[in-house]
């Protein structure tokens, strides 16, 4: 035994490690594969050993080999072994290997569940971290289901490192296990306000990713994101949020209005180009969504385009690229504004960078007009000639075709030109898009009748020179064109000048080298040509010529009969027999031409590719049911051989009775309207197409450009489309000259009378008459075709499953009781529901069970939308009442709410449930949005926004904790009541400010919460009442004189440990306009006002708004503080100008800004487990304070501490509660509040004794005041 181990360790010394392996591979350059295979053998040996270190080493090497492309899935089990090592070193290797080569179908993955669970709950944060990282790469639906619960627990881990990973991985879990989204969402939302910026960023990341796919479900988070956007300093987060807003604005245009201002500010203030660009991008999205309704935004669009132009002209290629990218967004809705920059775009086409050229090409699509199409395409053709790579050339080709064919050839004035362009494009070597050109040729030839003569001539030339196209097998992509050429020549053979020659060209032996489907078309169309030739030859004197033609066919066709391709074979033999029969008849000198051509009589109409699919199945028709029982023997289906182009198919069934058929059908349709209209087997031409055909049986009636030159039949390969350009120019010149002479009348007449000449139109865009009419525009679709929305949706998109309405949940977070009382869903979300139910069953009917979230909530939403306005009005009324009669409020609410149509829970207590919280949330958003500012008044908007947000904050944070003493279910209703009251109170406040009702308030408290993380466990109501709490506000008076009143609130900044944000509300108390307000403080050593860049240390902060009489507005100032353990005061002055109609006075107001220690605290939710750990850790200092004669209910007391001192309740048992808060610099402050009678004792622990002392003093002071 001992010897074996010793031997093992000596062996091990000579084992290769990763470095040796890499070195070895580098030394065996010539026989690398052989060397690696020996290495793999060694690894296999190593994996057989018991020593985990050896195994880990082997797995590490395997990971490297995997990167080199070797399949290592055979070692999956060993990887699991290494993953389960107790040592971090090996565990990490194992997880790395797993993340590189495990995937959903790896079967050993199911063995890992318990190991991963163990690692997730490991005391070592890096074990957990490594497990999370690994899991993020190979999570499967099973793992997601089994581990969702554990990961959710980790989301509130004490370590931000774990928190952020857990938050991020939730996205993967949602993808694999969509059911987890609802239970996890409240916590995820909570993480948006996590004190750690990394966690916050992760949460933003996840929600943005979720919202990108299903934006409408996340619209209600807009206020929260708005707040983050205005407060965050992390560019990553900002970019994500701004991108998200870009996705949300199309759904809610009012949001756009709100956004414009802060975005513009960001654009001006940021130095990060990436952020700037995203801002511009979103502004564009906003403008687009706004301007769809109103035209007056075109100016701002124009501005954006100008800005983008600057980007595009930038020397930095990246910016140029992005500028073009953004431009293409504008192009979709405002092509006109982009068109003016055609020069620039064309210039970009010459750029040496392919990416930029491609982007420019995209833009070109929207720039073309009738006037410049030829010009642009000519330029593109030049590029095609000199394009180096096939990818780019193919891209050019498709673009040319796209540009020309867009909106039904709208911009093409001369189809002869277009055909020649297409013919020129066939010269492209090795393109993959031959079929594209072919389908264009077919499309044009079929749909533009007038062009057929020309097209046929060109196609005949093409067929003649087919060897040029097929000469090189490499170019077989392009030989698709021959398919079109052959078909056109055959179908429209009556236009051929020399059908015999074409026929011969089509029967050349070389044709046999073409792909099968093209040969088939050749054979079929040779037959058509044959019939045409026969006709002409029989018409003439010589009978022998006709016989010769038949002989030619008989000679050549056997080649095709031998074809390996079944279809070619079938057609060839069929036609061969036919020709033989004809020959026989010819020898008897029977006139056959007439009958032969009857085989191919009739028009072929184009049919849209999806036409058949779109016909709705009529009710009661079962397509799967047999019409007749199938015959016993399997009859060979007489289906048409598969053709590439749909139009190919009807050919055989065509008869000369098409006309009759159509009439008949029309009659039938008259007779049985409904059924016939719905008949899926019948695709009819719509009336308009019939009309076209009926009215214009001949080409004579269709306008054709009179060309002076005869059309030269050139060998394809020589450019010839240029002549059209010249022609066009000449024509325009001529027009210009003629213009004056021509009277309007004549011109009109000419146009409407299908004038053959086109030299009569003036230059204006609309008046360029197309040379040819494009027939059939819409009739390709059957009538009552179904709308095609779902066409492009991928049924396999995993994000579809995540389309879950979260509104209810968002709120339920608010009603969530203390963290530890919430049982996380174990293995299924049903458990979570059970755990929540005590809280929720009060309004159970309003919170739909998660199984059917979508249905119900959408219904609710609809209801809500209906009542929204009513709601708001009502609440306003109530507010007024509330103001006057405090005592009667309950009744008011009762009365006010009773007739609200929203489902309510009946209650026997005096408190009546207000509309559901979901309702509140939605109307919150609505309210938030409805206060969209006029552009000049953003600050106000921000205030409004902040206020509205403050509403949703208490739900998200643990602010509602004080109410948790009510264990009865009615509590939930109560809370709802309060939260709705909140909102109303706030609205009231807004109103108050606006209407300038200076009512004396006992506690001149403003319900303004301008910053995050706050505190609100505030309820309004009468003090006498047991339940509600007195109104509270953190806004305290800063200074006041006869002109102006300032109240302020100080909050720590979540993002930056050294910043506090002071929100100051300025209220104009006089009748004059206040302007040029400058806010200045004397910086102390410890605290400094952050001034705009470039201003000196003594400059003031210019308040960015003016105050008309009676208006109040909020400004936010950021201060940097060094030490936060002591409270401090700062002196400052506000200077402003009071402007009357006739005079203006300079005024000033001194104030003292008091930074209490409380203001450095941030409400931070804490879970009891984490709290316990914190207390156990022992590095906290103790202190305590006693409050005497506090006569208020315990929950009021807690609420006060929560509200005024930014604490959150961790746990509460009877008359004892633990509370937690955190300072901006990360000090933990823990309180244990006990009450007995009128004495309250507070035991506190904090890692910073001075801070603690000061906080306690402040708490004491708060209670001594009341």
């Amino acid at each position: 035994m001992a010897l074996k181990i010793v031997k093992g360790s000596i062996d091990r010394m000579f084992d290769k490690n990763l470095q040796d392996l890499v070195r070895g591979i580098r030394n065996h350059k010539e026989d690398e594969a052989k060397y690696i295979s020996t290495c793999i053998d060694e690894i296999k040996q190593e994996l057989k050993q018991d020593n985990i270190a050896v195994k880990a080493n082997a797995v590490c090497k395997l990971t490297y080999l995997q990167m080199l492309g070797y399949d290592v899935s055979w070692a999956a089990f060993n990887i699991v072994e290494v993953m389960s090592s107790s040592k971090f070193t090996y565990k990490r290797i194992g997880y790395l290997a797993a993340s590189q080569c495990f995937h959903e179908s790896t079967d050993v993955i199911m063995l890992t569940t318990n190991q991963i669970r163990k690692d997730l709950s490991s005391p070592n944060q890096y074990d957990t971290g490594v497990a999370l990282t690994g899991l993020s790469c190979f999570v499967t639906p099973d793992l997601a289901r089994d581990l969702a619960n554990d990961i959710m627990t980790l989301m509130s881990h004490t370590k931000p490192y774990i928190r952020k990973k857990a938050v991020l991985i939730m996205y993967k879990v949602f993808l694999k296990y969509p059911e987890s989204l609802r239970p996890a969402f409240p916590r995820l939302k909570e993480k948006l306000e996590d004190p750690d910026p990394g966690v916050q960023s992760a949460a933003v990341n996840v929600i943005c990713e979720l919202a990108r796919r299903n934006p409408k479900n996340y619209l209600s988070l807009a206020p929260l994101f708005f707040k983050l956007m205005t407060s965050s300093t992390n560019n990553w987060v900002l970019i994500k949020i701004i991108k998200l807003f870009g996705a949300l604005t199309p759904l809610e245009p009012r949001l756009g209005k709100k956004l414009i201002e802060p975005l513009t500010n960001l654009i001006h203030s940021t130095s990060a180009m990436s952020l700037l660009y995203e801002c511009v991008n979103t502004v564009i999205a906003v403008l687009i969504s706004l301007s769809s309704g109103m035209p007056n935004h075109s100016a701002s669009i124009q501005l954006c385009v100008q800005k983008l132009r600057i980007l595009i002209e930038d020397s930095d290629q990246n910016l140029k690229y992005l500028g073009l990218l953004a431009m293409s967004k504008i192009l979709k809705t405002h092509p006109k504004s982009v068109q003016s920059h055609k020069d620039l775009i064309l210039q970009c086409l010459d750029d040496k960078d392919e990416s930029i050229r491609l982007r420019a090409l995209d833009l070109l699509y929207g720039m073309v007009s009738k006037k410049n199409l030829m010009e642009i395409v000519k330029k593109l053709m030049l590029h095609v000639d000199k394009a180096e790579g096939t990818t780019y050339r193919d891209e050019l080709l498709t673009k040319i075709i796209d540009i020309c064919s867009q909106s039904n050839y709208q911009y093409i004035t001369n189809f002869e030109w277009y055909i020649s362009i297409l013919v020129e494009l066939t010269r492209l070597e090795g393109t993959r898009h031959g079929h594209l050109i072919a389908s264009q040729m077919l499309d044009v030839a079929i749909r533009v009748k007038a062009i057929r003569i020309f097209a046929v001539a060109q196609m005949a030339t093409l067929l003649d020179n087919a060897h040029l196209l097929t000469g090189n097998m490499q170019r077989n992509g392009i030989c698709e064109v021959l398919y079109a050429a052959a078909w056109i020549c055959g179908e429209f053979s009556e236009h051929l000048e020399n059908p015999m020659q074409t026929l011969e060209a089509m029967l050349r032996p070389k044709v046999a080298t073409l792909p099968g489907h093209i040969q088939a078309v050749y054979v079929q169309n040779a037959a058509k040509l044959f019939s045409t030739v026969l006709k002409s030859q029989e018409g003439s004197t010589e009978g022998t010529a006709a016989q010769e033609t038949s002989q030619l066919m008989i000679d050549r066709l056997p080649l095709f009969v031998q074809s390996a391709n079944l279809e070619v074979q079938e057609r060839a033999s069929c036609i061969l027999q036919l020709v033989k029969y004809i020959q026989k008849l010819q020898q008897k000198e029977v006139e056959v031409a007439e009958e032969v051509s009857a085989l191919f009589a009739g028009e072929l109409n184009p049919v849209a590719p999806k036409a058949q699919k779109k016909v709705p199945v009529p009710e009661g028709l079962d397509l799967d049911a047999w019409i007749n029982e199938p015959p016993s023997e399997s009859e060979s289906e007489d289906e048409q051989p598969k053709a590439i182009f749909a139009k190919e198919e009807p050919k055989h069934s065509r008869s000369r009775h098409t006309e009759v058929d159509e009439k008949e059908l029309a009659r039938r349709r008259e007779a049985r309207k409904q059924e016939q209209a719905n008949n899926p087997f019948y695709i009819k031409a719509s009336p308009s197409s019939q009309k076209v055909y009926q009215e214009s049986p001949g080409v004579e009636h269709i306008p054709v450009v009179q060309i002076d030159l005869t059309v030269p039949l050139k060998v394809p390969g020589l450019p010839m489309s240029d002549q059209y350009l010249k022609l066009e120019e000449e024509r325009r010149q001529k027009e210009r000259a003629d213009k004056k002479k021509k009277e309007k009348k004549k011109r009109k007449e000419k146009r409407s009378g299908r004038g053959r000449r086109h030299d009569s139109g003036p230059e204006s865009e609309e008046d360029i008459t197309p040379a040819h009419m494009v027939d059939i525009v819409t009739e390709e679709m059957p009538e009552n075709a179904l709308p095609s929305d779902d066409d492009d949706k991928d049924p396999n998109d995993p994000h579809k499953a995540l389309d879950i309405d979260l509104d209810n949940l968002v709120e339920s977070a608010g009603r969530r009781p203390l963290a530890d009382s919430e049982k996380l869903p174990v293995r299924s979300h049903r458990a979570a529901k059970v755990a929540k139910s005590p809280v929720e069953d009060g309004d159970a009917e309003n919170t739909p069970p998660s199984q059917e979230p979508k249905k119900k909530s959408s219904k609710e939403k609809r209801e809500k939308k209906k009542d929204k306005d009513r709601d708001r009005k009502k609440s306003k009324e109530e507010k007024k009442k509330k103001k006057h009669k405090h005592e009667e409020k309950e009744e008011d609410l009762l009365g006010g709410e009773a007739d609200e149509p929203v489902v309510q829970s009946e209650d026997t207590t005096e408190v009546v449930a207000l509309p559901t919280s979901t309702n509140a949330e939605v109307s919150d958003l609505d309210f938030w949005l409805s206060n969209a500012p006029v552009p000049s008044n953003t600050q106000e908007a921000a205030t409004v926004a902040a206020t509205a947000e403050a509403d949703s904050v208490p739900e998200a944070t643990s602010g509602t904790a004080p109410d948790s003493d009510h264990d009865e279910p009615k509590n939930s209703e109560l809370e709802e009541t309060k939260s709705s009251k909140h909102k109303k109170k706030k609205q009231k406040k807004e109103k108050e400010e606006k209407e300038k009702k200076k009512k004396k308030k006992h506690h001149h408290h403003h319900r303004h919460h301008s910053d995050g993380g706050a505190d609100e466990s505030v309820q309004n109501g009468t003090v006498e009442d047991e339940e509600p709490l007195p109104p509270m506000s953190n806004y305290c008076l800063l200074a006041e004189n006869s002109y102006i009143k300032m109240v302020c609130d100080i909050q720590g900044n979540l993002q930056d440990g050294s910043q506090v944000v002071v929100s100051v509300i300025f209220e104009n108390k006089c009748d004059s306009l206040l302007k040029s307000m400058e806010f200045n403080v004397l910086d102390s050593l410890n605290s400094k006002l952050q001034r705009p860049e470039g201003s000196g240390p003594h400059d003031g902060f210019t308040v960015p708004f003016q105050l008309p009489p009676g208006v109040s507005n909020e400004a936010r100032l950021v201060f940097t503080v060094q030490s936060i353990v002591m409270p401090q005061k700062m002196k400052g002055t506000l200077t402003f100008i009071v402007k009357n109609e006739d005079s203006s006075i300079h005024e000033k107001l001194d104030f003292k800004l008091h930074f209490t220690c409380t203001s450095y605290l941030i409400t931070t939710p804490c879970y009891s487990d984490a709290f316990a750990k914190l207390l156990e850790s022992g590095d906290l200092k103790c202190s305590s304070v006693r409050l005497e004669e506090v006569n208020m209910p315990f929950h009021h007391l807690l609420a006060r501490i929560c509200f005024h001192h930014h604490f959150s309740v961790v746990e509460r048992i009877d008359s004892c509660a633990s509370m937690y808060s955190r300072s901006i610099q990360g000090h933990h402050v823990c309180l244990l509040v006990k009450t007995s009678g009128q004495t309250v004792s507070i035991d506190a622990k904090c890692d910073e004794p001075t801070l603690l002392g000061n906080v306690l003093d402040e708490i004491k002071q708060t209670f001594s005041q009341c």
């Binding site: 270190a53 990167m67 993020s136 991985i169 990341n205 990436s274």
Partner: protein, 248 residues
């Protein structure tokens, strides 16, 4: 979302590949190859964005790359990522590598691909950006490396059971049987003792004549002492450990 992160050199040799979506090994290699072809033929002063076409993901995906000396760093991302943001991220990644490896060069990436993976794991997780703050990343990476090292030093340092886990080592009551070195003893104190013991034991076990034993060092590839090895067990750097006890 980030679909893939690739690092390859000027010749298209992969130095790191991280796919956040499953592909077979062959497809992965093909993606690397084609990406290299796309990227390598671009000039230095063109833009850093490329539409990869159908290569990865489709039209919603872009290749965003940067070229540093001999290496290309390519991120394949979808439209939810900001293009310039990803460029910055690449910069952060490279700077982090530079800090972790001290003047990073291609060789570092070649020989320590696992470490690069570990660093990357602190930045991007499951295709989503986890952390962009370089100091934070370095802090976490360092902390983990430190942990790894502490685990190594807990292993027995004696020659016979070098690098073995304590638990694998023959031991009795916390003492390694072969070298009588206690696991918790400070290495420097008892190192020489352990060396002698080891040498003796080895001599006896291998039944080697003593003279040969003196020459043994020259056959041994390197020092077996784990604490000398900066890279943990199995990575031997200094030699002559019998005659000149290494600087522990």
């Amino acid at each position: 979302m980030i679909r893939a992160i690739l690092i390859f050199n000027n010749h298209g040799k992969p130095r790191l590949s991280k796919f956040y979506e499953h592909y077979t090994e062959d497809t992965e290699q093909q993606i690397i190859r084609e990406t290299f072809h796309l990227v390598s033929k671009r000039d230095e002063n063109v833009c850093n964005f490329l539409e990869g076409g159908m290569l990865i993901g489709g039209s919603d995906y872009k290749l965003i790359y940067r070229h540093y000396a001999t290496l290309y760093f390519v991120f394949c991302v979808d439209s939810s990522e900001s293009e310039l943001g990803i460029l910055d991220l690449i910069q952060v990644f490279v700077e982090t590598l530079d800090k972790c490896f001290e003047n990073v060069c291609e060789l570092d990436l070649i020989f320590h691909v696992d470490k690069v993976h570990n660093i990357l794991a602190e930045m991007v997780m499951g295709g989503m950006v986890l952390e962009t703050n370089m100091n934070e990343i370095i802090m976490q990476v360092d902390a983990q490396n430190k942990m790894e090292k502490s685990e190594v030093s807990r292993a027995c340092v004696c020659f016979l059971c070098v690098g073995l886990d304590w638990s694998c080592c023959m031991q009795y009551a916390g003492m390694c049987v072969c070298c009588t070195l206690h696991a918790t003893l400070s290495l420097s104190l008892s190192f020489s003792l352990s060396l002698c013991m080891c040498a003796l034991l080895l001599g006896i076990l291998l039944l080697l004549p003593l003279p040969l034993l003196l020459f043994l060092p020259s056959f041994l590839p390197s020092c077996c002492c784990c604490c000398c090895s900066p890279h943990g067990p199995g990575h031997y750097t200094s030699t002559y450990f019998f005659l000149f006890p290494p600087h522990c």
